[in-house]
């Protein structure tokens, strides 16, 4: 059979990247710091975010979007912080994309926020590919996970600006090896900011909140406004 070759040459991420660029411009305009949180299921994203919203909401207008394949349970939990929260139920999709964020933002009815937190679907593979227009990508690694997770999911750790080591209150009990974890992180993202936190004891929370505080302030004053 004779065939003819038709060139197409398109990048599958183009559509998402274009939408993400629009979101980013919009967030520059509004001076909203956007934080995209990635992790495996069960690493403590929702608990950390609930506490983060609670601590920031005295000072700032904060909101959260939360992605899950099913249920609205996380949105209900986060709403206890008092901040506006919208659940994005992704069904078959294993990650959030920029289009989903645009739609969910419409439900927040154009309110102004100093910071918007996006809790991605618990998964370290697919979410790493999708730009959501965020300023800060934060990846969580709980002490109950393997210290070599950054080596197994290099892109998620490579594309993040902050690594949060969570549940450090039980680090000793589960035999967490800090040095090994630190070495794994350095192998995919040398020099990245690492903060150890525990929502239960409050350890590291001040450092994490101070980091957000300075980024929210910087975004609000960004010259592009």
């Amino acid at each position: 059979m004779k065939v003819r070759v038709v060139e197409i040459a398109s990048n599958l991420m183009l559509k998402n990247d274009a939408l993400a660029a629009k979101l980013r411009a919009r967030f520059v305009e509004s001076g909203t710091l956007v934080v995209n949180m990635l992790s495996s299921p069960g690493s403590g994203k929702t608990t950390l975010l609930e506490e983060t919203l609670r601590r920031l909401s005295g000072t700032y207008r904060v909101a959260a979007l939360v992605g899950d394949q099913a249920t609205e349970n996380d949105a209900l939990r986060l709403a206890r912080s008092g901040a506006p929260v919208r659940q994005i139920t992704t069904a078959a999709e294993c990650r959030l994309d920029a289009g989903m964020i645009s739609k969910a933002l419409a439900q927040l009815q154009g309110e102004h926020f100093d910071a918007l937190f996006i809790e991605n679907v618990g998964n370290l593979i697919c979410p790493a590919e999708y730009d959501l227009g965020e300023d800060l990508r934060v990846v969580l690694l709980s002490v109950t996970e393997g210290e070599d997770k950054p080596l197994k999911y290099p892109l998620a750790f490579n594309t993040s600006q902050v690594v949060l080591i969570t549940k450090v209150d039980i680090a000793a009990a589960v035999g967490f090896d800090r040095v090994a974890a630190g070495e794994s992180i350095e192998r995919v993202n040398p020099g990245v900011r690492v903060v150890e936190v525990s929502t239960r004891t409050g350890a590291g929370m001040e450092e994490w909140i101070a980091l957000l505080d300075s980024r929210i302030g910087a975004k609000a004053l960004a010259p592009a406004r």
């Binding site: 059979m1 004779k2 065939v3 003819r4 070759v5 038709v6 060139e7 197409i8 040459a9 398109s10 990048n11 599958l12 991420m13 559509k15 078959a92 999709e93 294993c94 990650r95 998964n123 593979i125 697919c126 790493a128 590919e129 950054p150 080596l151 197994k152 290099p154 892109l155 490579n158 794994s184 350095e186 192998r187 995919v188 993202n189 040398p190």
Partner: protein
């Protein structure tokens, strides 16, 4: 896990080009997929067959070129392919090399149509 989404996005691109050019049947599609993209080859092939049923690309062959992970090593001042499972580290001098040169691709390259 996301192979069906990837297959549907590829199909979107194929269908758009086919309808622009009045193509009625596609016999093969060439794509490039990076080692870091998290796409499982067999799952994508399976998804492709499911996604393309009753479309212009029904029964077409999906040819997947796997693009290896390549990083830029500042110390060696060159492109290097890290060993799988060791992070983004230069295999020659051991320097962490977070600048990814290739391995993130998800590209629709071309398609073949009966002449």
């Amino acid at each position: 896990m996301h192979e069906i989404t990837v297959a549907l996005s590829l199909l979107d691109g194929v269908q758009a080009t086919a309808s622009e050019q009045g193509i009625e049947r596609v016999s093969a599609v060439n794509v490039r997929v990076g080692a870091l993209s998290g796409v499982v080859r067999d799952a994508l092939l399976f998804s492709w067959d499911v996604a393309t049923a009753d479309t212009v690309a029904a029964g077409s062959e999906l040819r997947i070129e796997e693009v290896p992970l390549v990083v830029f090593c500042e110390r060696c001042e060159g492109e290097r392919a890290p060993l799988p499972g060791y992070g983004l580290v230069c295999p020659e001098c051991g320097t962490p090399s977070p600048r990814i040169v290739s391995g993130r691709e998800m590209q629709l390259v071309s398609m073949e149509v009966p002449a």
